[in-house]
């Protein structure tokens, strides 16, 4: 697995790069101010120790006034830099952009790749793929409390507000795997609400997207068949859905292509057979407070279920 990139200072897209630039402008201006003021203070202390100064109040007023003037000038520089960056960030909006709708839930991300033709809409969860070099307009919503979508390597954050809808525009310029995380405290498992972002080359992305439009492959073996039965007849289908099966619940992450995702539990643990087994057996152990109850599956049911889930590429 690629190293997790979740840093403001390692931008992988144009928006984050602009913000990175603004950060360094701010950093250096502020550093200069910091050093200057402390130097003035040190000089004042040193001077005061040597002898009583006889600077008149008028001179002092002049000096203090000048210092305030310089501060205002520095602030204006920063304000201008901030304004320019703000305008540049707005410039990414494009007509032919990829549209993704991300809906926050306690504590996972529901993802839909929107398409004017509803039959081409792709539904997935907790992992998004974006094409390198193409603007992406993310429509941000929430189903319960306020969350905040934050993928530092690509852009700053945007709150997901229940009852409101907002947009954020970003673009990946370098292929790679980035990590995003919920940034607005949203309850018990705010800490474990991460999002994997895979930036693919455009061709890879199109391949991925058309693959995602397909339903889950039919089970091939006896065991996989049993696994699907466990889902369809057991409690799983109450919340989860798997396209092409009877499972159609909408209150939990879509599992149609679960096996293609790198993590489970919204970035809680890597998606391995062992972890998946542990998660299904006792979800409250790994992510206490999350909405998935213990399933109480018999061991052989669990194994069959895992056999099936592993086919959901």
């Amino acid at each position: 697995m690629a190293p997790l990139i979740q840093s403001v200072l390692h931008p992988a897209g144009v928006q984050a790069a602009r913000l990175n630039q603004l950060w360094w402008v701010m950093f250096w201006v502020c550093t200069v101010v910091f050093i200057s003021v402390l130097t003035a203070l040190a000089m004042a202390i040193a001077r005061g120790r040597r002898s009583a100064s006889n600077a008149s109040d008028a001179t002092l007023t002049g000096s203090v006034g000048a210092a305030v003037g310089i501060s205002v000038a520095a602030l204006l520089v920063l304000l201008t830099a901030s304004e320019i960056t703000g305008r540049d960030l707005d410039a990414l909006k494009a007509q032919n952009a990829l549209r993704i709708q991300i809906t926050g839930n306690q504590w996972w991300w529901d993802v839909q790749y929107l398409n004017p033709d509803p039959s081409l809409t792709v539904v997935t969860a907790n992992e998004i793929h974006v094409p390198v070099g193409r603007p992406v307009g993310i429509v941000a919503k929430s189903n319960d409390v306020i969350h905040s979508l934050w993928i530092p390597a690509l852009h700053g954050k945007r709150d997901l507000l229940p009852g409101r809808q907002s947009e954020i525009w970003l673009q990946a310029d370098r292929a790679g795997v980035y990590r995003g995380q919920c940034a607005e405290y949203c309850g018990a498992q705010h800490a474990k609400m991460a999002l994997t972002v895979v930036a693919d080359l455009p061709d890879d992305f199109e391949r991925w997207l058309s693959h995602m439009r397909g339903p889950a492959p039919p089970p091939a073996t006896e065991s996989q068949m049993r696994g699907r039965d466990v889902i369809e007849r057991g409690p799983c289908a109450m919340c989860h859905s798997i396209a092409g099966t009877l499972a159609g619940g909408r209150t939990a992450p879509d599992l149609t292509h679960l096996a293609s995702r790198s993590a489970i539990g919204a970035g809680s643990i890597p998606n391995t057979r062992g972890n998946l087994a542990g998660w299904i057996a006792d979800p409250q152990h790994i992510k206490p407070g999350n909405k998935m109850p213990a399933t109480g599956l018999a061991s052989e049911e669990l194994q069959a279920l895992l056999d099936y889930l592993e086919t959901l590429k």
Binding site: V8, A16, V64, L75, A81, W150, R158, D159, A183, Y185
Partner: protein, 663 residues
């Protein structure tokens, strides 16, 4: 004794220099009068009834520090949990209660009350008054703070601690997602602290406007008094917003209103606007008194009057005004139109200007002083320049909407807010405690222990909070109870946790210094630091009547310009514990006013209010039935005083007539 209109009398503002009543023997006689007649109730019951502003102020400060210590222990627990990745000392449920209770207690039970407590103690002394205005209301405010704090921590230990963050965003805190009574506990704690802060602010304003001693025109008022005046007004304008928002939240939760329910036409952002309209000024409510403490300390230890008095006063006022226009910078990530962004970015950056002005004025004071004396209070203030500058400059960074989108709600903000609140306010507060300790207790704090504590605190503070800037930039969001090892945040978090340990040691040394010095510290003279303000003219600790005779002032630094000081105030009736009420602008004598004496009613009223508040968490009927005992206590409180029959009083006033000349 309660006030009665008949007792208010015009006083003669003449200045009398050669009055026989200014003879030492006469003054000594007057002092003994005060000694005999100003009530100083002893014992536990006396303590409960006290309306002496020094007693109330001191207990407010001590109580606030108790909550500070408890919230500090919670902070240490959080640092323990975060010291390594995937730690399992605390689970999410407990961790979330801990960080919420930490923030809530620090903001509402420590920071604001301790500053107001310093004001209650110092303002009457600094303005040369014998007592604070409406002292019983101040006593009531103290009891509300005490009961509010006990309530919050009792609920926390009962596993009903609030767990929705100190700003309790809806809908997480609303009826649908807020578990059990936890958010109600938070909302009601807010009510406690609002009531406490509001009544104290009212008292401070009246004291500052009407009880200044003759000669102390507004332009001679000490800067700490100015700060408390501005802050009291900010309390009065800011608190109603949070009162409204938390009351609407309680109503949503208790009786099913829909103020914040978006499904029924309510709005989740309404909460944020109302909360931050209070919440941002709150920061300045905590910060401005700290600045007010810096001025006298810088001035005293640079041995010159503070430079730029007018600029400092105007900066205070400007900060207060601009402070009300920046609340949206807590909400940049919710999405704003471009124009709104520019406005709030500009306003947030503008607030730097008055603060910068103050910093430069103090540097100019030091520059032209007669050599800095490196006492412990001065060390804290010098360190304040360092830490507050960092906090202020990161504040400029987050004022920028685009950059804030990256920094908001990360550990960068945790670092920023602690640099501003601890760096900006707690450093001056610890300086202030060192500075005024001799006045309050009559004993000096040990300088050596004080410096040890200072250096430990300074080191621990920076070690704890500086790495958090970097953690935030590396993508660590705030309010997470754990983080994956793969993120690489482990070592900086460990460093921060070690720093937290050093802070704990530093504050323990500070506490030991206080306890040891209380017992064996060197006795303090009236003015051990050679400071300029009036509180240093009376004994350490001050008598219950503060001054005898009551001093007047002729300059901004009355103890440094004694040649300008006109004679003392005489002619007040010591038997009736009178205070002199003066005019607002120039503090010319206006009339005499007998100050209300000790009373048990504020405590009883606070108990009744507490019952009402807590009951109303569980049932709306708590408001109905709970108001009956409250009503009874208020009737008792305001029952007309029947001590002196009117005819008796008339005769007495006639007898007093010749004693009029004052100031």
């Amino acid at each position: 004794m309660n006030a009665h209109p008949l007792e208010q009398q015009k006083a003669d503002p003449r200045l009398v220099y050669d009055d026989p009543r200014l003879e030492p023997a006469a003054l000594e006689r007057e002092r003994r009068h005060h000694e005999a007649s100003w009530p100083d109730p002893r014992g536990f019951l006396g303590w409960l009834r006290s309306t002496d502003h020094k007693s109330i102020g001191l207990r407010t400060i001590v109580t606030a520090f108790v909550w500070f210590a408890m919230a500090g222990v919670l902070a240490a627990l959080m640092r323990l949990q975060l010291s390594r990745p995937e730690n399992t000392i605390l689970g999410p449920d407990l961790y979330n209660q801990i960080f919420t209770t930490h923030g809530t207690a620090m903001m509402f039970l420590f920071a604001v009350p301790v500053m107001l407590g310093m004001g209650v103690y110092l303002v009457p002394l600094q303005v040369g008054a014998r007592a604070i205005a409406v002292p019983r209301l101040v006593a009531y405010g103290y009891w509300m703070l005490l009961f509010g704090g006990i309530f919050l921590f009792a609920m926390f230990f009962a596993n009903v601690g609030p767990d929705v963050g100190w700003f309790s965003y809806v809908p997480l805190s609303g009826p649908e997602y807020g578990i059990g009574k936890r958010p109600d506990v938070w909302a009601q704690l807010i009510t406690f602290s609002e009531v406490s802060a509001l009544v104290t602010a009212i008292s401070l304003i009246v004291t500052i406007f009407k009880l200044r001693t003759p000669g102390m025109a507004l332009n001679r008022m000490p800067l700490f008094v100015w700060a408390m005046l501005v802050v009291s007004f900010m309390v009065i304008f800011a608190m109603p917003a949070v009162m409204l928002s938390s009351t609407c939240l309680i109503l949503d939760r208790l009786v099913g209103t829909h103020f914040y329910n978006y499904a029924e036409g309510g709005d989740v952002l309404l909460w944020q606007h109302l909360f931050w309209f209070f919440g941002h000024p709150e920061v300045y409510i905590i910060f401005l008194p700290a600045l007010g403490m810096i001025s006298p300390i810088v001035s005293t230890f640079s041995r010159r009057p503070v430079f730029g008095y007018l600029a400092l006063v105007l900066s205070n006022i400007a900060t207060a005004f601009i402070g009300f226009g920046v609340w949206v910078h807590h909400m940049f990530a919710t999405g704003l139109p471009q124009f709104g962004q520019s406005f709030f970015t500009a306003a947030s950056m503008m607030i730097v200007v008055p603060t910068a002005t103050q910093i430069f004025c103090w540097i100019a004071t030091i520059w032209t002083g007669r050599g800095v004396r490196f006492t412990t209070p001065m060390l804290y203030v010098l360190a304040w320049f360092f830490v507050f500058l960092i906090g202020g400059l990161t504040g400029v960074m987050v004022a920028s909407v685009p950059l804030d989108l990256q920094l908001h709600d990360t550990f960068f903000i945790v670092a920023h807010l602690h640099y501003v609140l601890i760096g900006g306010s707690v450093f001056p507060l610890l300086a202030g405690i060192h500075f005024w300790f001799p006045k309050i207790t009559g004993r000096m704090l040990n300088e050596r222990l004080g410096k040890v504590a200072f250096w430990l605190f300074f080191t621990g503070f920076n070690l704890t909070f500086f790495p958090m800037h970097i953690l935030g930039l590396q993508g660590m969001p705030r309010r997470v109870y754990t983080y994956p090892a793969a993120m690489g945040w482990g070592s900086l978090n460990l460093l921060a946790s070690i720093g937290a340990g050093i802070i704990a040691v530093a504050l323990t040394v500070y506490l030991i210094n206080v306890i040891v010095s209380l017992r064996v510290g060197a006795a303090a003279t009236d003015n051990p630091w050679d400071a300029a303000d009036l509180e240093w003219s009376t004994s350490s600790p001050p008598p219950v009547y503060n001054f005898s005779p009551q001093p007047t002032v002729g300059s901004r630094d009355p103890l440094w310009h004694t040649e300008l000081t006109p004679p003392f105030v005489i002619g007040l009736n010591p038997e009736k514990c009178e205070v002199l009420v003066t005019h607002l602008l120039d503090a010319e004598p206006d009339h005499r006013y007998p100050t209300p004496g000790p009373s048990i009613w504020p405590l009883l009223a606070a108990i009744a209010t507490t019952i009402l508040f807590i009951w109303s968490i569980f049932s709306p009927w708590g408001v109905v039935w709970g108001s009956i005992p409250l009503f009874i206590t208020l009737v008792g409180w305001f029952w007309p005083h029947r001590g002196v029959p009117p005819r008796e009083m008339e005769r007495e006033l006639a007898r007093l007539e010749p004693r009029e000349a004052t100031s």
